[in-house]
């Protein structure tokens, strides 16, 4: 039943989750991203995926992630098809598989999948033909591995010694696939100190077991941080059983420039986007000198190119 995302030789076959990956696999992605990024900057991006077909299979609305994947595929000369199923009623299994098999019959090499259900990417990986790769672009609350890779890649650029870092992740951990993948990724990189800051209503059960320390007080959590990672608060969570309202959330968990002073002077500020200014982050911080948020976006394309190249270079066209 279970799908292996790394084969015996250490080659990445699928990318479904950060969990279980080894550091050399990540380092390999970062090295490839470095190479491809500089090749692109010098106008000589190699057509590594020429003749390969990649399908962006999105069962959930997304512009940023889908664009990032599309651009990454195009820069490597792949043929890419965008299939947007977010608006259709295709969310149940049978039709999901029908969709998959129909597209597979057109001979594709890789599915990039985003789906509102946790485990959807694993499910699809179990049912694709051998040799077809599945890349998880976000499944429910479970995982968003390329986001974690681009986040780590960005951190590495500014602060390469992970062992000496204090990273603070702030916000809705409960519903966040970004947070789950980042926590796994940081632990793979042997991060020195990982802190999660959130109200108890936005923390999943026994989250400490993933390898992190939990804080409910942002001021305490921020002390001497090297990296401050703010999570997006979904609109539907702002009012209801999780939180009273967005103002109270901002008061306790919003990153203001005054609060940021509690972190180290050279701390970097990150966010997976899209941001809610004035809810989780103050504009002056989002656009300030410590923010690397736009850099994350740029790195996203390079890292996604690297992941696609690493997976598909292990197979023949």
């Amino acid at each position: 039943m279970s799908v292996k995302q790394v084969c015996k030789q250490g080659q990445l076959k699928h990318l479904l989750t950060m969990e279980g990956l080894k550091r050399p696999t990540l380092e390999q992605v970062f090295a490839t991203a470095d190479e491809l990024s500089s090749a692109f900057s010098s106008g000589q991006c190699p057509p590594l995926l020429s003749g390969r077909t990649i399908i962006n299979l999105f069962f959930e609305p997304s512009t940023r992630t889908r664009n990032s994947f599309e651009l990454a595929a195009k820069r490597l000369s792949a043929d890419i098809l965008n299939v947007d199923l977010a608006s259709s009623s295709t969310s149940k299994g049978e039709s999901l598989l029908d969709t998959l098999w129909t597209l597979q019959a057109m001979h594709c090499d890789m599915f990039i999948v985003r789906h509102p259900e946790s485990g959807a990417a694993h499910f699809i990986a179990r049912h694709v033909d051998q040799g077809v790769a599945v890349l998880n672009a976000g499944d429910g609350r479970h995982a968003h591995p390329t986001q974690a890779l681009l986040d780590l890649y960005t951190i590495r650029h500014h602060k390469p010694d992970f062992g000496g870092l204090r990273v603070v992740v702030v916000g809705d951990i409960l519903h966040s696939r970004v947070a789950r993948s980042l926590i796994h990724g940081l632990n793979i990189m042997n991060v020195g100190d990982l802190r999660l800051v959130a109200p108890p209503t936005l923390l999943p059960e026994q989250v400490e077991d993933l390898g992190a320390e939990v804080y409910h007080d942002l001021d305490k959590g921020l002390a001497d941080a090297d990296v401050v990672y703010m999570l997006r608060l979904q609109k539907e969570r702002m009012v209801g059983a999780h939180l009273p309202d967005r103002h109270e959330y901002y008061k306790h968990f919003g990153l203001t420039s005054a609060r940021l002073k509690l972190a180290k002077a050279d701390a970097i500020v990150m966010h997976p986007g899209p941001m809610n200014r004035g809810v989780e982050i103050e504009s002056s911080v989002a656009d300030g000198p410590q923010s690397v948020i736009l850099e994350q976006v740029g790195n996203g394309v390079s890292v996604r190119m690297a992941v696609m190249a690493n997976i598909l270079s292990g197979t023949t066209s």
């Binding site: 039943m1 279970s2 799908v3 479904l16 989750t17 969990e19 969310s91 149940k92 299994g93 049978e94 999901l96 598989l97 789906h115 259900e117 946790s118 485990g119 959807a120 694993h122 499910f123 499944d139 429910g140 609350r141 479970h142 995982a143 696939r177 789950r180 999943p204 059960e205 026994q206 989250v207 077991d209 993933l210």
Partner: protein
């Protein structure tokens, strides 16, 4: 006239404190004696190396009434799993709130070999839990109890009225220990739900529901059977309630005595069950509850599903295990591993469920008792190969296990049903 002898078989009957190797004689429907050299026999069965134990009564069958042409396969699966009786619960679209439906079901089941079918009726009409079902009519149609169909009755006022009404009819009420507001999930709320990003059902969903049931029993003195305990805390609540003398019985599904949340791995939907698989310490507490008798009954909660029910991401799949055929192999594995005494295993699969449902079922193996039993090979170490898998549901994580104990045959009133 059929006269049969089971030669040199180890007859184990906790009720009559029998455990002896002997020749057991059956005449027509009844056991007539042992080691009688003068018994004239038509047919001999070798029992060498085999156990002969009372057949099981399996609770928790959740069948789809729309596809009941398949019921023969499920009754066959139950008999292959060592059960002479399979008790169907209302669940999902199979609401069982109508007397004609019950009669039809029972009539259809009669045409099939395999285990005998018994039916629990719905406690509320259309299982909506808004008004009482016609319990008296359901009882007349043959329902052996009434139940909530796996959906907790959130309206406490209605719950109490149901218990009072059922009590006046001398019906046991089968209830689900659940606070539905806390049950919006598909796995145990804990390490695994957090890791996989799946909605969790906390242990408190069970204990809050259970506490409400216990208070309602205390208020009414009605007889309640609590279905499918899954948590250590739940076992403790039942233990205390029984110590107090409240008329509460309870069961556990056999898979909860083996599996935990860790078995789900990366989204393996074979392990999607309701209530969810919980932690190692819950599993151990459930087994301890069976051993000390707090949990009266072990059942399979047999839920055969079509292939499509599992072709989806984990949370969207239908929960359940087609477990009838692996009931006694799994229960006896606990015995052979020294974790459950054999007499308790027989009590929990035969005597107690028969008593709770007031079945006219032979749970002992004395002369003049009905010849309803199964023959077990305790040294089999084999698998159930797919051609001998009877259930139409293939949703089982146990289907490829190697079992030490195998059900060789099952007998109902002197007739072989598997």
């Amino acid at each position: 006239m059929s006269r049969q002898t089971f030669k040199q078989v180890r007859v184990i009957d906790p009720q009559s404190s029998t455990d002896q190797s002997c020749d057991l004689h059956v005449h027509n429907q009844n056991i007539v004696g042992v080691n009688d050299a003068s018994f004239a026999v038509d047919q001999e069965h070798s029992g060498e190396g085999l156990w002969l134990i009372p057949a099981a009564v399996d609770f928790g069958y959740r069948g789809d009434l729309r596809s009941l042409s398949a019921i023969g396969a499920e009754l066959g699966a139950a008999a292959r799993g060592g059960s002479a009786h399979l008790v169907m619960e209302p669940a999902g679209t199979s609401v069982i709130d109508d007397a004609a439906e019950v009669r039809d079901l029972k009539a259809r089941a009669k045409h099939h070999d395999g285990a005998r079918l018994h039916v629990i009726g719905a406690v509320s009409s259309n299982l909506q839990h808004r008004s009482l079902a016609a319990m008296s009519t359901l009882r007349e149609a043959g329902c052996i109890a009434v139940g909530d169909g796996g959906q907790s009755i959130d309206d406490t006022n209605l719950l109490i009225r149901m218990l009072q009404y059922a009590q006046s009819l001398d019906l046991t009420v089968f209830l689900t220990p659940l606070d539905s507001r806390l049950a919006n999930g598909c796995v145990h709320a804990g390490r695994v739900s957090t890791r996989l990003g799946l909605n969790g059902i906390p242990s408190s969903a069970e204990t809050m529901g259970l506490a409400r049931i216990i208070e309602s029993v205390r208020a009414t003195s009605a007889r309640v059977h609590v279905m499918r305990l899954s948590t250590a805390e739940g076992v403790e609540l039942v233990r205390n309630a029984r110590r107090e003398g409240l008329p509460i019985t309870a069961d556990v599904a056999i898979h909860h005595l083996y599996l935990t949340e860790n078995d789900i791995g990366p989204f393996d939907a074979r392990f999607h069950v309701q209530p969810p698989l919980r932690t190692l310490s819950d599993r151990d507490a459930l087994l301890a509850g069976v051993v000390d008798g707090t949990i009266d009954v072990i059942c399979s909660q047999h839920t055969p599903l079509g292939r499509d029910a599992r072709l989806a991401p984990f949370a969207v799949t239908d929960p359940g295990i087609a477990g009838a055929q692996t009931l006694m192999p799994l229960v006896l594995q606990l015995v052979l591993d020294g974790r459950l005494p054999l007499d308790r295993a027989i009590d929990a699969t035969s005597t107690q469920p028969a008593t709770i449902c007031k079945l006219n079922h032979a749970t002992s193996l004395k002369p003049d008792d009905k010849a309803t039993f199964c023959l077990i090979d305790p040294n089999d170490d084999g698998q159930i190969d797919s051609e001998h898998w009877h259930s139409l549901g293939h949703n089982s994580p146990f289907s490829d296990w190697v079992f030490r104990a195998r059900v060789v045959s099952t007998w109902f009133k002197g007739r072989q049903i598997a």
